[in-house]
Structure formats: C-alpha cells, structure tokens
C-alpha cells in the first residue's frame, strides 16, 4: 500500500511541475514576441502617448517576473484578467463557455465510450475475422478524415437532407437539458466518429496483449471455463489499460472540440480561443490555452493515477 501512495504522490508532483512549466511557457511565450506587445496591438499609427498609456494599463512597465507571479496568483483565485478586445472580465467570458465545452465533451463521451469498448473487445475476441478487418479500415478512415469533413457530411445528411438535427448548435443557459442535448447532437456525433476508432483500436490491442500472456494460457490448460477466465483472470488486468484509453480520449475530446465548435457555431471555449487568436486578444488566448492545457494535463494525470490504482500487481507486492 505504501508503494502505491508513493507512486501516486510522485505522479501528482510531476503533474504539478508540468502545469507550472506550461504556465511559464504560456506567459513567457508572449514576452518573446519580437517587438513590443502594445505597439503590435495598437498598430503603427498609435502615438507614443497612447502606447505608453496602454503599456501602463497592461502593466507592461513592471518587470516580467512580478507580472508572471501576479498573473499566476490571479488565475489560482479565478481572476483571469481583462479582455483587450472588449474590456470584459475574462472569467465572465470563459465561465459559461467552458461549461458548454465540457457538456459537449461529456455527451460525446457518453455515446462513444461504451460503443468503443464493446466493439474493441469484440474485435479482439474475433481477431483476423472480416469484422476485425472492417474495424481496421474504419480506423484508418477516421484518422485520415479532417474533423470538419466529418462534420459537414453529417450536416449535409442529418440537417439538410433529412432535417433531423439542427445544423447550428446555438445553445443558451435557459434551455432545458433535453433541448440542450438535442442541439449538440451533431457536434457530439462528429466527435464520437473522430475518437471512437482510436479508442476501439487501443482497447483491442490491450485485450489481445492480455489474452496472449502465459497465465491466461495456463488457466486455459487447467480447463477453467471461458467466462471465469475472462471475468476473474483477464478483466482485472485489462481494467488499467481500458481506463487509460478512456481517460486519454476524454483528454483528446476536450481539445478536439475546437474545430467542431467552429463548424457548428457552438458557444464553447474553443470558439472563443479561435476568435481571440484572430483578434490577437492575448490575455484571452493565454487564459483559454491555460484552461485547455490544465484540463488536458489533469486528465492525463488521472489516467496515470487510475492505472496505478487498478493494477493488481501493485496491490499485492512481493
């Protein structure tokens, strides 16, 4: 037990360190901007006075490390600073949008995870069959198709031809839960199609690795029933890789939403990020990047910790 706690603490420490370094990069990246941030934003026509005023407003006149510490402390307290484009508090802009993004990712995960795991296990059990080859072709197709291609094909059929789902996912907080789900149906379906093949492949590989190991062979030779082998021998060891696959794909979903949100004009964090990049609204870009990166890193960390916790070998040290 001590060993497990030690490993988990190590991973958490490493995760925190990564987050810290990432925050440094996101902050300092802007500092390395060739030339002056204020001039870059205001353009060449700005007078020296306005540039100086703008610099004071952005606190660009303070030394770099002071500003970094202030920025980091602000983020930890939920204060993300102000948008350059419209002067609004970023935390206001981000709040609803981030929950929208999470909502979309969760809907996509609820659809894709069970299907992917079941199909992956089936592909492993009937490997090299026609079904398995079809899974292979489907995987190749889905990693080769740009997300917006999948999204527009779905729009073309589900929204335009058959008129089942709306092609624009304009949601607002006053909407009921089912209305919300109905509106995000197409983006969620797009995300599902994008991640499902990958999840399936990884589940398949994990199970096949396992079924080829000597102790399963041994159990077979002892004449234990197939259901007992799968439930008692294979499943405990397969849990770790499968949980890993699921959490890693959730991390991918959170990031993969960017393009999908733009296609469906869904008011999520990804769309905000893209808008802010084209407006060069740097504080908003920094805040959204930090949120995305932190979510991604935390999910990866969760995958690590869960795979340690569910590893039966670590629960029974020699």
């Amino acid at each position: 037990m001590f060993q497990i706690i030690k490993m988990i603490v190590q991973r958490l420490g490493l995760g925190l360190l990564t987050l810290f370094v990432v925050s440094l990069i996101i902050f300092l990246g802007v500092e390395l901007l060739p030339g002056d941030l204020a001039e870059a934003i205001l353009g060449q026509s700005a007078t020296p006075e306005t540039v100086a005023a703008f610099r004071r407003e952005l606190k660009l006149d303070l030394p770099m490390h002071e500003r970094y510490i202030e920025w980091l402390l602000g983020i930890l307290q939920g204060d993300l600073g102000k948008s350059l484009a419209n002067g609004r508090e970023i935390s206001e802009l981000v709040g609803v949008r981030f929950s929208n993004t999470i909502f979309l990712a969760i809907v996509a995960a609820v659809i894709s995870v069970p299907i992917a795991v079941i199909l992956g296990v089936l592909a492993a059990l009937y490997r090299n069959s026609l079904y398995d080859r079809m899974v292979n072709v489907f995987t190749l197709t889905s990693i080769s198709f740009p997300e917006f291609f999948v999204a527009y094909i779905l729009i073309l059929f589900f929204a335009v031809e058959w008129n089942i789902f709306p092609s624009l996912s304009n949601v607002n907080p006053n909407m009921g839960f089912f209305e919300h789900v109905y509106r995000v149906a197409l983006p969620a379906l797009t995300l599902t199609l994008v991640v499902i093949a990958h999840m399936m492949r990884m589940t398949r590989a994990a199970i096949i690795n396992l079924l080829a190991s000597p102790y399963i062979e041994m159990a077979n030779l002892k004449g234990i029933s197939r259901s007992r082998i799968i439930v008692h021998h294979a499943l405990p060891n397969a849990l770790a890789p499968i949980i890993n696959v699921i959490v890693l794909n959730l991390a991918y979903l959170i990031v993969g939403v960017v393009v999908v949100e733009v296609v469906f004009v869904y008011p999520g964090l990804g769309q905000l990020l893209v808008d802010s990049v084209s407006k060069r609204d740097i504080p908003v870009v920094q805040a959204s990047c930090m949120i995305f990166a932190a979510t991604y890193i935390l999910l990866n960390l969760t995958a690590d910790v869960l795979s340690i916790v569910t590893n039966p070998r670590l629960l029974h040290p020699k």
Partner: protein
C-alpha cells in the same frame, strides 16, 4: 530500376492505390498552372455558380473557378505541409541524434524540453504560438515544424540509442572522428527505416493540422488557394444541399488515406513485422 518495378508489382493493392493517389496529387500540384483553365485568384464568373461546361466544379464565394482553385490548392497545401514536415524532421532528427550520441546533460536538457512540448495539446500550442508570431505562411511553417519536431526527436533518439552503443560507433569514436561525422556516416544510415515511415505518418498529421488551421482562418491566408480555407469559404453552400464545398475536404482525406496505405506497406516491408495480433 528493374528491382523497383519488381517491388512495386509485389505490393498489395492498397499500397498501389496509395502510390497512385500520391503521384496524381504531385502531378496536379506541379502542373497546376498548365492544367488549370484560369488563374489562381482570377475572378471569372458570378458567385456560387453551379457546375457547368465552363466551370467544371462551379465557382466559389468570390466567383473564382473551383476546379482551378482545387489544382492550386494541391500545390499550396501539399507543398507547405511537405516543407513543414521536412523542417520538423530536420530539427527533430538532428537534435535526437545529437542527444543520443552526446548523452549527458545535452540529452537531459533536450529530452525535458520535448516532454514539456508534448504535454500541451498540439492544436492549442499552435494557436498560442500563432497569436504571437502572426498567421503568415513562414509563421505557420515555423510553429508547426517546431511542435512536430518533438515526437520526431523522441523517435530519432530512441532508434539511435540502440545504434550508438554498437561496436562500429565505438571504433569511429576511438579513431577520433568528429561528432557530425559519426552522426552522418555511422548513426543516421542505421536509423533510417523507422524515420522514413515516421515521415509519412507525420506528414499526414501536419497536413491535417495545417488544413484545420486554415479552416479556422488561422493558417494559410487568402487569396492563396488552399483546401482547408476553401471549405471554410464555401461552407454556406452545404446548407443548400450542395456537395462541391466538400470536395477539398475529400481531397485532404483521400491523400491522407493514400499516404497511410503506403506507410503501412513500407513498415511491413522494412520491419519484417507481421500484424498477427
């Protein structure tokens, strides 16, 4: 040459199809000015004209010929993706080979930097960096090349680690050869096959990322013809049940599938691995 044809004949159907797709794309890209009826940015008709004798695939949102834009798009999109991948490979493998050959603190430093790059999702990191350097073509190429040199570094380092410890490298060291001589003459040739296969795969990722960025309006900028931004510009047509805006997206998908087919075959050939699991 004869051997090459023999090899090609023995290739599975998918690999032949993949090669055919790649050759056609290169052909179209190189000969774009010759086979296109109009100029790249020339406005030749009304907006959103349907396909006709005059405009094979119709016209786009500004009245430019879609067929012409598709041809030039092949040239620009594939060309830029190829340059980016090549640059990423140059940076990544030089760094990777250096890390494994030198070892010590160089290896530690480079590896930790790469760890950090890989811990941030690529698209997000690319968006952050593009805000800083601006969305110009050299900016896009530079940013993506640096981001994708990280996985290349990992692979090059891992592969060459196994080569560096072999006797002939030791002999070269004892002979007093310089670092670059050892890297180029001893380590690199013995690390090539996995790197070549990786090049194909990475090209697909880079190609998809650049298309995604252009689709978001943050990659290759107008009026340059490019498959990703062509989809974006004409997307409204899709809501009228028109499929022509999907053609550039389909072209991206087809090329990626083709490259993947060839890479699969190449991996199978060089590694001797059989996909029996």
């Amino acid at each position: 040459m004869v051997e090459f044809w023999k090899l090609l004949k023995s290739a599975p159907f998918t690999a032949k199809l993949g090669l055919l797709i790649i050759v056609i794309n290169i052909f179209v890209g190189v000969l774009a000015p010759v086979i296109s009826p109009y100029g790249e940015t020339e406005i030749v008709g009304a907006e959103y004209e349907p396909p006709s004798e005059q405009f094979w695939l119709g016209t786009d949102n500004l009245g430019r010929d879609m067929f012409t834009r598709m041809n030039y798009g092949a040239r620009n999109t594939i060309g830029i993706a190829f340059i980016t991948t090549a640059l990423a490979f140059f940076i990544g493998s030089v760094m990777g080979l250096m890390a494994s050959t030198l070892g010590g603190w160089v290896d530690q430093l480079l590896s930790r930097i790469v760890d950090v790059i890989l811990s941030i999702p690529t698209l997000i990191f690319a968006l952050l960096l593009l805000t800083i350097v601006g969305t110009t073509i050299p900016g896009v190429i530079g940013v993506i090349a640096i981001l994708y040199s990280a996985p290349v570094f990992r692979l090059a380092r891992a592969v060459s680690m196994n080569v560096v410890v072999l006797d002939f490298v030791e002999v070269a060291r004892l002979r007093g050869e310089g670092l670059w001589w050892i890297i180029i003459r001893e380590v690199l040739p013995n690390s090539m096959p996995p790197l070549v296969a990786e090049f194909g795969l990475r090209f697909c990722f880079v190609f998809l990322l650049i298309s995604a960025l252009s689709f978001l309006g943050l990659g290759i900028q107008p009026p340059t013809a490019d498959w990703g931004s062509m989809v974006r510009d004409n997307a409204t047509l899709i809501t009228y049940g028109e499929f022509t805006p999907l053609l550039p997206a389909a072209a991206i998908a087809v090329l990626t599938v083709g490259v993947n087919f060839v890479v699969d075959w190449f991996l199978y050939k060089t590694s001797g691995l059989r996909d029996d699991h």
